[in-house]
Amino acid sequence: MPVEPVFETRIDRLTILDEHGRFDEELGAGLIPDEDVVALYRHMVICRHLDEIAFKLQRSGRMGTYPENRGQEATSLGAAYALQKKDWLVTCYRENAGLFWRGLPMELVLLHWMGDERGNEIPEGLNVTPLAIPIGTQMLHATGLGWASKYRGDDGIACTFFGDGATSEGDFHEAMNFAANLDLPVIFFCQNNSWAISVPTRIQCSAPTIAQRGLAYGMDCIQVDGNDIFAVVKAVRDAAERARTNQRPTFIEAVTYRLGDHTTADDARRYRDDEELEMWKLRDPMIRLRGWLDARGLWDDSKQASLQEEAEAHIAAAVQRASDIEALPPTEFFKNMYKTMPPNLQQQMSTMRTSSLGRNPETADQSAVS
């Protein structure tokens, strides 16, 4: 036969709690215990409130550029919930919900966007990497972290998050390819939120799904409704199982939407239709989850009101901690360049000068050493 099929496949899309509130009992029942659903919902509300406050901080000049996470809370949160503490979360910058669930102190994220490296000083044992600014680069670190777990045989895995735009970068390809060909326990979690700043997803990927990018590597891949935390939890659990037992990676495309501007430096009205936004507001993962809880009598308006208060207090305290932090000494940035500071840096730091007449250690004012 001169033309013969050598490979056949398909991509599935998984939804459990859909945008109309329909819940698939078969897949969904028992997936997440009720009290955990409540906890996840509470967490989402708190994270959503952080966005509001951070936005205001930026507008009032108390914080630099900040990327709202609004509308995408279900993705990283569902993943963090489904994973174990020993698993690495390798994030971009729209995964606050997942990071906080893992235990990252909220003020760290605030400090990061306040232009302070202390925001990246991840507490030991948390197994998260710092927010990644250069798009598409952090997935390779996840591949390496997953590899290290396999090397050590410690049963851990790495789950990395990135946007639709990030899938255009070469590093995305290399990370997926290494993981697939070297059999590494990694979950690649794409948050397809329709936009990369002003560029729509079709410029990043004109294929019918982003999920099918995994086919290039012979990787298991699936599309999920990213605003459905049940679907996210199931997909990540299945992927984690595959990673832990067979050292195989999985690619997950979570279809979600960025309800805010790209960052506080952006104005999405320049390039985005109002209609599209309005449509997606109806698919908000928080609304959907609230509906589910309401229907089961697990939530009500008074609970919501007190949660709102709690959230405000919680965030206010985090903001306070971030704002109250002691000022950095001006020489701070020399200190963590290397484990041991080499002589040229010692010299520059002790004088805060690069000009040689100023940095000559004999003539320099040694009191400047901090």
Binding site: S168, P330, G358
Partner: protein, 322 residues
């Protein structure tokens, strides 16, 4: 004449060159409908259409690599890299291909490409949005590297870059994108690549700088009250050593100021060349007031990192006293 910011001057240059030559096209991330994250390409998408102003996938190597192909085919692509910190993924295509194609093929294939890149610190931006990698592309042969410090120069240099038959990295100091306005001729004109500008004449000391630091130098000079010659290099590679040498032979003293780290920065090259060419006239070692040999810190401390009028002033005092 119009009173324009740096952003507006560049925008005008782009419009005029696109009107003039339909081989000129623009590509990059968010350069279309959005007009670029700094609005440098504002209005171009509407004016010239999506064939000539193209939003690309988010992939810097892809942007430069396809530009190399477009340029080899005779077009005049202008590629925008959104921030200098994202030149990294394109490093290989820039240095391995754009910079080498002419010499590799003895001129059979050439790469008349302009890479526009916002550069430098001082705007309280996130990590990797405040670096100054110009020396990297100076040490790599085969490229031209330009960095204007004023709207008027920006327009003329960009037009030269677009017409240049070789690849040019056009760095735009984002700190002064909108910091001030200047009278800019409305007609097209060129400022030659490779020629410095004497911003201010003086006899006591020669100061060499480029980009946003030129403004810091001016401030320091004014504060010092001394008779200092200030040279704005404008072109980083190949830089105008003649103007520098001529000046230092007269003044006997020199300070180079830049934001990039000290070691192997362009300041080291200029200092070395001054020593080589003005050895007998030098009254003091050339001073370099630059970024430190550390990573540019997150923005809370960026002003500690960047050379400012105070640090430059100290160097002035010291070198004059030497």
């Amino acid at each position: 004449m119009a009173n324009l910011t740096l952003v507006q001057a560049i925008n005008l240059a782009l419009i005029q060159e696109m009107e003039r030559d339909d081989r000129v096209m623009i590509m990059g991330e968010d350069v279309g409908l959005n007009g670029g994250v700094f609005r440098v390409t504002e209005g171009l998408h509407k004016r010239f259409g999506e064939k000539r102003v193209v939003d690309t996938p988010l992939a810097e190597s892809g942007i430069i690599g396809t530009s190399v192909g477009l340029a080899m085919a005779g077009l005049r692509p202008i590629a925008e890299i959104q921030f200098e910190g994202f030149l990294g993924p394109a490093y290989d295509q820039i240095c391995t291909h754009a910079a080498r194609m002419r010499t590799r093929t003895r001129g059979a294939l050439t790469v008349p490409l302009v890479i526009r890149v916002p550069v430098g610190g001082g705007i309280h931006a996130p990590e990797l949005h405040s670096d100054s990698p110009e020396a990297i592309y100076t040490h790599n042969p085969g490229l031209k590297v330009v960095m204007p410090s004023s709207p008027r120069d920006a327009k003329g240099l960009l037009i030269s870059a677009i017409r240049d038959p070789d690849p040019v990295i056009f760095f735009e100091p984002k700190r002064i994108y909108r910091a001030f306005r200047e009278e800019v001729p409305e007609d097209e004109y060129t400022v030659p690549i490779g020629k410095a500008r004497v911003v201010r004449e003086g006899s006591e000391l020669t100061m060499v700088s480029w980009g946003a630091s030129v403004i810091q130098c001016m401030n320091a000079i004014e504060t010092s009250g001394r008779d200092i010659e200030l040279i704005d290099l404008r072109t980083i590679s190949p830089f105008d050593m003649e103007t520098v040498s001529e000046s230092v032979r007269r003044t006997g003293r020199a300070i180079v100021v830049h934001e990039a780290p000290l070691s192997c920065g362009l300041g080291s090259e200029i200092a070395s060349r001054i020593m080589e060419e003005c050895f007998l006239q030098l009254e003091a070692p050339v001073q370099r007031v630059t970024g430190f040999d550390t990573i540019m810190p997150y923005y809370k401390l960026e002003l500690e990192y960047l050379p400012d009028a105070e640090r430059i002033g100290q160097a002035i005092d010291e070198i004059v006293a030497y």
